[in-house]
């Protein structure tokens, strides 16, 4: 009897796991699309989290909204545009390249160019200083 009871107890954790699973998998294809889409979208409340990661109420609402839009047969691009119209380019983790975001996209290359120019100047300066110094090899040859 006791043994049976302990065997039953072993099942308890399994039931706990089953209880925590979320009722997502109505349609695995839809969930996969929702996941892919929401990983590219920003949660407006906790701004450094994606919609996929965030548990903010707004993120939950937006995931619900995206599910409904997918069910309506909208493409990924249409869904992203739907959110951009409401929340601006900020919802996208990859903002589009346009005049407003030119500095955002070009900035790193600008900094790289500035760094290269600075490096070239320093190297040229150092070269000139080295030439001014007496050349050690020549001195050895002379001696």
């Amino acid at each position: 009897m006791k043994r049976w009871f302990s065997a039953l107890l072993l099942i308890v954790p399994l039931m706990a796991v089953a209880g925590e699973a979320q009722p997502l998998a109505d349609d695995p294809a839809m969930e996969a699309r929702l996941k892919a889409l929401s990983q590219e979208l920003r949660c407006l409340v906790c701004q450094n989290q994606t919609l996929a990661d965030s548990s903010a109420p707004l993120a939950e609402d937006l995931r619900r909204e995206i599910r409904e839009l997918i069910a309506k047969g909208m493409t990924d691009k249409e869904i992203t545009d739907y959110l951009v119209v409401r929340y601006g380019d900020f919802v996208r983790y990859r903002p589009p390249l346009k005049t407003q975001t030119a500095l955002l996209w070009g900035g790193p290359f600008l900094l790289l160019a500035m760094g290269l120019v600075a490096l070239a100047l320093v190297l040229r300066n150092r070269n000139r200083l080295m030439k001014d110094l007496p050349d050690e090899d020549d001195e050895e040859d002379a001696a």
Binding site: E65, Y87, G88, D89
Partner: protein, 177 residues
């Protein structure tokens, strides 16, 4: 000449950097500019708070300049701006309508009973769907909508006396003409 440049360069770099940082101090990353400014306010028709049969429809407001204040009973910052809203309602400076966002009617009515009701009507957006159309992401938010139904201004967070005096009131005066 070369020597002077050597000392001026770090100073210039410092000034540029300080300029960027000073500007950065004044920016609030939580204020995301709304793409809806200058666009037609999304149409909606929602139940009215405290009036089971009644509907509040944005179409009713055509031809009028009005303020849509998105609030909720669970929102602490909304209580902060509440006295100002009461003052606006009392002075009749603005046509103020509320949208109760993701809230229960009982809680919302209790707050209005306790603190006073500055709204001409309150639309109930219980599941936040209209909120999504308006790009609401943090209550309170207030939209200024003109006679043609165009959103002219959005205040994210509580309306402060400064915002009212410097931005919203001058805008309203222009729109009401």
């Amino acid at each position: 000449m070369k020597g002077v440049f050597k000392y001026l360069l770090p100073l210039a770099v410092f000034l540029v950097l300080a300029g960027f940082l000073a500007k950065g101090l004044k920016l609030d990353p939580h204020e995301v500019p709304s793409p809806l400014i200058g666009k037609p306010a999304p149409a909606f028709s929602l139940p009215k708070l405290g009036d089971q049969a009644g509907k509040f429809s944005s179409d009713e407001m055509k031809g009028r300049v009005w303020l849509l204040n998105v609030w909720a009973s669970w929102c602490a910052a909304c209580r902060e701006e509440h006295p100002l809203l009461m003052e606006l309602a009392r002075s009749g400076q603005a046509e103020l309508y509320g949208m109760d966002y993701k809230d229960t009617d009982a809680d919302a009515s209790a707050v209005l009973k306790q603190m006073g009701n500055p709204y001409r009507a309150v639309a109930v957006d219980a599941d936040g769907r209209v909120g999504i159309d308006y790009g609401v992401y943090g209550v309170p938010e207030t939209y200024v909508i003109d006679k043609a139904g165009i959103i002219r201004f959005k205040q994210i967070g509580p309306i402060t006396p400064e915002v009212w005096n410097e931005k919203i009131q001058p805008l309203l005066q222009g729109l009401q003409r």
